[in-house]
């Protein structure tokens, strides 16, 4: 089983997810089952292969011009759970600074 409780907690923190204590064991087991399965890839001869590169297209870059997609501030803020005075509002950002 490649993933244990501590590993689930570490990943969950990175992903900003909270796994209820009673579900950690089950999550670890489910993830481990999938990882055991994907370990089958080690049976393929991959040594000389490079990773797939995304979208290998000769796409031209964007010219440095303004376009029409810009939103009015009220539209930009319309879906915000909380906004005021043109700003998005969030609970305090705690930097965790100690002098």
């Amino acid at each position: 089983m490649p993933i244990d409780r501590a590993e689930v907690e570490r990943i969950a923190e990175l992903a900003r997810l909270e796994i209820p204590p009673e579900a950690i064991e089950r999550t670890a087991a489910q993830l481990s089952e999938v990882l055991d399965f994907v370990a089958s890839l080690s049976r393929l001869e991959l040594d000389r292969l490079g990773p797939t590169q995304f979208a290998p297209v000769e796409a031209p870059l964007r010219e440095d011009e303004l376009d029409s997609r810009r939103l009015a501030p009220e539209t930009a803020l319309a879906a915000a759970p909380e906004a005021e005075g043109g700003f998005f509002l969030v609970p305090p950002i705690v930097e965790n600074v100690s002098p």
Binding site: R16, L35, V57, F88
Partner: protein, 491 residues
Amino acid sequence: MSAAEAWRLSAASLADGVRAGSIGYQEAIESGWEGPAARWEPDVHAVVHADPEVRRRGAAGSNGGPLAGVPVLVKDNLCTMDYPTTCGSRILGGYRPPYDATVVARLREAGAVITGKGNMDEFAMGSSTEYSCYGPTRNPYDLERVPGGSSGGPAAAVAYGLCPIGLGSDTGGSVRQPAAFCGVFGLKPTYGRLSRYGLVAFGSSLDQVGIFARHAGDVALAYAALAGPDPFDATTRLGPAPGVSDWDRGVRGLTFGWPANLWKEGVDPEVVGALEQAAACLERCGARRSPLDFLPGEYAVATYYLVATAEASSNLARFDGVRYGFRHPESDDVRALYTRTRSAGFGPEVQRRILLGTYALSAGYYDAYYLTAQRARTRIRREYEAAFARCDFMLMPAAPSLPFRLGEKTDDPLEMYLSDIFTLGANLAGIPGLTVPLDLSAAGLPRAVQLLGPEDSEPLLLGAARVIEVRGEETRLGRDHLTEFAWPTKR
């Protein structure tokens, strides 16, 4: 035919009638709602956002383009300004985008009207449309069974007759597998042919907008309206998409690959029977069968679940309760806001995949998982290239089984993942795949096959599908005459 029966028409005939003035725009849009939806929608639950007033405005604003007056149900992960776009997720509850996806804009330019938003597995993660915050969609052929997924809503709606065309998204088979389960055509185009701008991303390098229709010709019609480069999507291919105007050219002289090793075990005999039947059709019409040995599908499943979840873990990071969607009300600081919002907003399968993808990218595991998967992806692409050096297209199951029962696979993620074993290769390789419905099984469930071809072979695949479609008329009544379209029997 009376205008009330307009829903029976193919999109092509409907648009013809609308342009000729024999069918009104409003009637063209409402017919599917008044007839089949009144009967089926309460049970099937294919639609998650609909609004008669928005439809009325849409019909009033339609034009005489190639899809004049054609209603289209669009999967709930394609951005629409006039309907919510929520990806079947609580975390996007009520969200209305301030812009249309490029494919949605192109539908409107072609005269089509968005008739509503179709149900889906949350963030397109699933193969049964059971993982939706709005509850599951059911298969119109058997309400105890799933319509497939993740684009189960549009697939089921096209099948029961709400609209002749639906749009889904296909990251690992999410258009082709539900098309097979619901007995309709389902095309996943070549990667980069349909713009992804406005498609809420799952696995960016795999995602492609796909088309549902009841006729091969309607798939071609929609493809012609949608395909082509988009300046807002850097991964769209330059140059015009392959022309589909002369797609109906038969299969004489073509060779199709027959990778029979893939269905030696673990595949429903009904599915194998459908393959034999389709192959016989193709051979009768002048195509040649070329048996070939293909890389077992387990490798594609393993590769896919690492690449797709890794990309998803990053793509879904933006759902954090700051700019849109759901926000958990009790958060003292911003870190708690993230964790609580995401834990309460995402369903269990989405969280599972985010965790898996985060793990595959995290320090110390990147090489072993993500990089290995990207190498395996190259290997799988080469496998397809080698196959297409020997044949023009391949015959493949669309799914290992006929539609399964609700709840049958929700407890076993790996089992669910394996139901995509025949479809996700096309996403890894970036090639087009087309599900072609054949007939009904003895139990009355749709049977279908999948055609895979090299990049930009959509016209060829549609031509081959047409052959199977026409031959299929021997066993199913008049697929190209929806006036005789066989409604699924309500159980």
